[in-house]
């Protein structure tokens, strides 16, 4: 697989390590009400779709940025690559 890094251009996927579902960006608030349930959900449960999947890849042997890659789990075709930082900021997680 080739990941089209937004800053560096096309890179071999073996330069990256994989973390999983991009929903992991949205870490729950540990002090909010219902945190226990929210963390159970966050840590252990997955949508695990057969189809488009937004997922976190870390450019470990590169510029060490986290990317959000949108990839079809049935064909491995990659349709979108974003900087995880931009995704997190858009979710309002910059503050």
């Amino acid at each position: 697989m080739i990941i089209d890094h937004p800053l560096l251009g096309p890179r071999d996927a073996r330069e990256f390590t994989y973390l999983g579902d991009a929903a992991l960006i949205d870490r729950p608030d540990g002090l909010a009400a219902g945190a226990e349930d929210a963390f159970y959900d966050y840590l252990y449960l997955r949508d695990n779709p057969a189809g488009l999947h937004r997922e976190l890849w870390y450019h470990e042997q590169g510029d060490r940025s986290w990317l959000v890659v949108t990839r079809d789990t049935r064909s491995h075709e990659i349709t979108q690559v974003e900087l995880a930082r931009d995704v997190a900021l858009a979710l309002g997680r910059g503050a």
């Binding site: 697989m1 071999d12 996927a13 073996r14 390590t17 994989y18 999983g20 579902d21 159970y40 959900d41 840590l43 252990y44 449960l45 997955r46 949508d47 695990n48 779709p49 057969a50 999947h53 997922e55 990839r71 789990t73 049935r74 064909s75 491995h76």
Partner: protein, 416 residues
């Protein structure tokens, strides 16, 4: 029809005209007491034990493709009961005992071959860990022997003993481990279940679960609706998709695992070897091909094929351990979709939906579990209580903090 040596002789004399199909190609009935979703090893074994040991009648197995087309026909056929943790070892040792009597139980030649599984160690720390594991196995009644380097050399002189970084310092040997002809496991269970009246329905994908008032009522399939008193789901890599039909999210990710086989060679390797310093394991099939594999690719996948980095990694492991493998030509490679759980251990449990039961999370090691998984799932479906060896395989163990994490990796499915 019972299979026997006498029968083969008789058929040989009569031009083999007396063999019938091993099981009926059943059409779906409007309703069943128990429906099993998934005609892999686990689903078929469940159906067999339900009919043979729990007296269940009116049982069907629904398979979206053909039986044996999933992981049960794609794995590298290794069986072993060499686990460390209490939640696992009694279950896998039960499975080993069931393998030992399987062919008589099913009247089917599954080529169960207890040729020994040897895990190599390459450091003092690894040897200590294997000693601990071996002792845990023996405490649960399994067999385990710790070998030193000379004993390993006597068994497999062709291994690369003097690698500068990863010398072979010994290994943990389970002599009762080995291999089983994987397709024959699916066919043998199918034939045995069918002979007790179980309908095995192929080309029948489940497309929906009918749930009313928190209780399962039946299923929608590509061959029409089917009413069911109880439904047991055993669909391995497709667990997420099927359980989503009941609105459930699972502690599971689907990943691809690859396997490889070389051209047929003369006998060179009479047991199973795993490399302790890289992702590589190998055995030789009775046809002569070296069957080998390594780690999962590491990203979510339903593609049933992997990518080049892992192919290279596995082959590098093979060359490091067993340099002569470089002379063999690769014949085929393929992939299967693994139901990787959050602690690397399986789930056999009821679900929040009354009458809906789940069997999954087998990761890359569910083939060896097939008999015990079938028996434990049948027990659960028939009695509504967990089988004593599978009592730890609860769906709520992640919430409760009772993980069964053999590798100690935490909630990272691609590292188990």
């Amino acid at each position: 029809m019972r299979y026997s040596g006498f029968r083969i002789l008789r058929e040989a004399l009569r031009g083999h005209r007396g063999w019938g199909p091993a099981w009926r190609d059943a059409d779906p009935q409007p309703s069943y007491d128990i429906v099993i979703v998934g005609g892999g090893g686990h689903g078929l074994a469940t159906a067999h034990y339900l009919a043979a040991r729990y007296g269940a009648r009116r049982v069907a197995v629904l398979e979206k493709g053909w039986i044996g087309g999933g992981n049960v026909g794609r794995n590298t056929t290794i069986i072993r009961s060499n686990y460390l943790l209490d939640g696992n070892e009694p279950f896998y040792e039960l499975s080993m005992k069931l393998w030992e009597g399987l062919e008589q139980d099913l009247n089917y030649n599954a080529m169960v071959s207890q040729r020994g599984v040897l895990n190599l160690c390459h450091s003092d720390a690894q040897r200590d860990a294997y000693r601990l594991r071996g002792n845990a196995m023996r405490l649960h009644g399994a067999d385990a022997e710790l070998l030193d380097a000379d004993a390993v050399r006597a068994m497999y002189p062709f291994l690369n003993f003097d690698d500068a970084r990863f010398r072979i310092r010994g290994g943990l040997l389970q002599r009762r481990g080995g291999t089983v002809r994987h397709d024959a496991v699916a066919w043998g269970y199918a034939r045995a279940a069918d002979s007790r009246g179980v309908d095995i329905i192929q080309n029948c994908a489940v497309t929906g679960l009918r749930i009313e008032g928190g209780r399962i009522r039946g299923l929608d399939t590509t061959r029409g609706p089917i009413a069911a008193g109880k439904v047991g789901v055993a669909v391995a890599g497709h667990s997420g998709a099927v359980m989503a039909m009941a609105g459930l999210r699972l502690p599971i990710e689907s990943h691809v695992l690859q396997a490889f086989v070389t051209e047929g060679l003369k006998p060179v390797l009479d047991g199973v070897i795993t490399y302790g310093a890289g992702h590589f394991y190998v055995s030789q099939s009775d046809k002569g091909g070296l069957v080998f594999g390594g780690d999962i690719d590491g990203y979510n996948s339903y593609a049933q094929r992997g990518n080049l980095p892992v192919v290279e990694d596995v082959c590098e492991g093979g060359m490091a351990l067993m340099p002569m493998i470089g002379r063999a030509r690769l014949l085929r490679m393929w992939g299967g979709i693994m139901d990787m759980s959050m602690d690397g251990s399986p789930i056999i449990d009821r679900t929040p939906v009354e009458g809906l039961y789940f069997n999954g999370g087998w990761c890359y090691g569910g083939f060896k579990a097939t008999p015990a998984s079938g028996l434990a799932f049948a027990h659960l479906l028939a009695t509504d209580t967990p089988h004593e060896t599978a009592a730890a395989y609860r769906l709520d163990r992640f919430r409760a903090g009772r993980m069964i994490d053999e590798k100690g990796m935490g909630a990272t499915p691609n590292l188990h």
